[in-house]
Amino acid sequence: MTAATETPAAVTAVPRASGAAVIALARFETRRLLLRAPVLAAFAVYIGWTVWRTRTSWDGFPALQDADRATQGGPLLVGLAVLFCANHAVLRSRRHDTDRHLDVLVVQPWRRTVAHLLSVAAAALLTGVCVAGQFTWEALKPGAVGHGSPGELLAGPLSVLVLGTIGVLLARLLTSPFAAPLLIVLLFFLHTVATAPDNGHTVRWLVLTVGENTATTLPSDLLGRPAAWHALYLTGLALTAALLAVLVSGGARLRTVRAGVVGAVALTLVGAVAQGQGVSRETTEARVRASAAPEKEQKCAERDGTTYCVFPEWTVRTDDWAEAVAGVRSLAGGAARDRPLLVRQRIEARYGLDGDAAIAPATRPGQVTVGTAWGGNRVPEFTAAVAGVLVAGTEAKAGAMCDGRMVTVMWMALAGRPDPVADLRRVRLDDSDRGSAIVLSQTEPLRMTAAQTELVRELLRRPEREVAAKVKAEWAGLTAPKVTSDQVAALLGLDEPEEKDECL
């Protein structure tokens, strides 16, 4: 008995199936890429180093416009590993001599290149997750101020994408295994040349990430960095490399690929030109306004008899400053205890982030200068400035002071702190607690002689209440101009200092 067989209908190849094939190949390549030893090692080093640094970054008081720049260094390591491994992956079929087998399949070489590019994009996405995690950690710290910039945050993952696509392109152009290591050395060298200090803006921003060699923090609208244009430039660069790789591996027949290459090159050029324009005129004028006449930009708030005038991004930090000022005020005596103070935040932004110019001390009575950083050494520096103004009247006079009043000033600055002797070392320029030294502050430094240091150390050893009572009782004598260290020692009931009492 013959079974009636039906002839199956002729099946035409469905074009959509090749998209599914590319996705399947991309998943396979992603898994292989992310599990390769160099990529795993690079991620381990990146994540480990980031976690270690972020635990104590900026002493727990980060400015988010600095934190977003800090995410850009680590991804470069990951990018180099991805370049190396993506290159290795594309050359795999050449290494094992399966090119001639794979070329007869329905999935064309250019589709296989697209799958490799998608695996590189997955690695870039993973880097983006790590960058987001680092920035979120910084933003959630209680002392964080300011605003981050999306362009700066995108620079890290986009660098990984650029480096990965360059690796794939290199593998399609030069099939030798030694091309990728030599390219990495060349990229390092070009980076060093482009970031040489005497290069103009245009060349400097052509590298993947541009760091600033600075520790100053500025308000985020005064930064003058073309972060968004740079992100556009990096996107254009990645698209150019990716589409060129597809073009070279057989996709040149397709009009979309050819048009895409032209579009990507145009995008890169637009980004490169726009980011090289330097600091805009509005920013320069805003910088001059903020440095020379900050009172027009600042918001003022009052706490316990002290007015705090700060830039809008720093208003959340007023409580921390108020706590420090209250600590110093509670130790003052006489009229100084209730004298109204004005704490004004001042910056020097005219030279941009690279500049490190000093700020002139205030000459208005009762005005204290505070900066943009806080935490760590900045706290005792601020309390020293507050104590100096309470004793001497103005910041300028506090800087010029070199008599026994320094003992009272330094004791008031340090006695309320949790670890006074450690803060004494921190606030002095040479980190010592003996001998004469310069005391750092936001504006003019103060000076201590060796005798005054000895007296301050002795006072810090005694119980705080006892010394506080004596200081309040003898306030007028202690803060008389030109009082000597011996007289101060006598007033406070200490032995005469044995060290020298000469001003620097």
């Binding site: 390591l77 094992h96 030798s176 295994p177 030694f178 030599l182 050395v185 060298f189 040349v193 040489a196």
Partner: protein
């Protein structure tokens, strides 16, 4: 012999060494030192491919010992390296050139590390072409070394630093260690212990490996 790899690496190294000349009088001592270190690294990356032998599983059976075969390859590379390094040093302008003895020790150490790494890879894994993996490892060392080496080891110091002489004593120690590893790994392993146990080392009785 993979002369193309060594040649390409040599050309890149000479281009890097010529960079101070090309950028004119902006060069200073630190720039020239970095450039020479980069070109030494480039040549070492090319030399990492010197022990590549696509027919290693066939040549393993010839009567000549592995030490002799590796030694011949190294003997072909070393004079080329010496001539190339002299050219690189002469390309850097004399006023900014770092002390020749110190930088030559650094370059020799990079080359020795590359060759020792390749010898180790062949000794341990018996791969046919370990060049790329060794190049990757050398690059990882070159990137992570300056970042993570403790400060008191002071291996990457500028030429006018007072620790230059002490740092280069440490480089010389590293050079001797790399040469020792290369010499030890150039021999065939006496006994194959491990998973393969007492099986024949020629691979005929076990699953074939690519």
């Amino acid at each position: 012999m993979p002369w193309r790899a060594v040649g390409a690496a040599g050309v890149l190294g000479l281009l890097l060494a010529a960079a101070p000349r090309l950028t004119g009088d902006q060069a200073d001592g630190w720039y020239a030192l970095t450039v020479l270190r980069a070109s030494a690294l480039a040549f070492a990356l090319g030399a990492a491919f010197a022990l590549d032998d696509p027919a290693r599983h066939t040549t393993a059976a010839v009567p000549t010992r592995r030490a002799v075969r590796h030694g011949l390859r190294v003997l072909l590379v070393v004079p080329v390296a010496a001539v190339w390094w002299t050219a690189a040093l002469l390309l850097v302008p004399a006023p900014v050139r770092p002390p020749v003895a110190g930088i030559t020790v650094e370059a020799a150490t990079a080359l020795a590390l590359a060759l020792a790494g390749a010898a180790l890879a062949v000794h341990r894994g018996d791969g046919a072409r370990p060049g790329r993996a060794v190049a990757g490892g050398l690059l990882a060392g070159a990137v992570l070394g300056p970042l993570f080496a403790p400060g008191h080891w002071a291996l990457f110091v500028p030429p006018d630093d007072e620790r230059w002489a002490a740092a280069h004593d440490r480089w010389a120690v590293l050079l001797c260690a790399a040469v020792a590893v290369a010499v030890v790994c150039a021999t065939e392993p006496r006994r194959r212990l491990g998973r393969r146990g007492l099986r024949s080392p020629s691979g005929t009785s076990g699953p074939s490996r690519a």
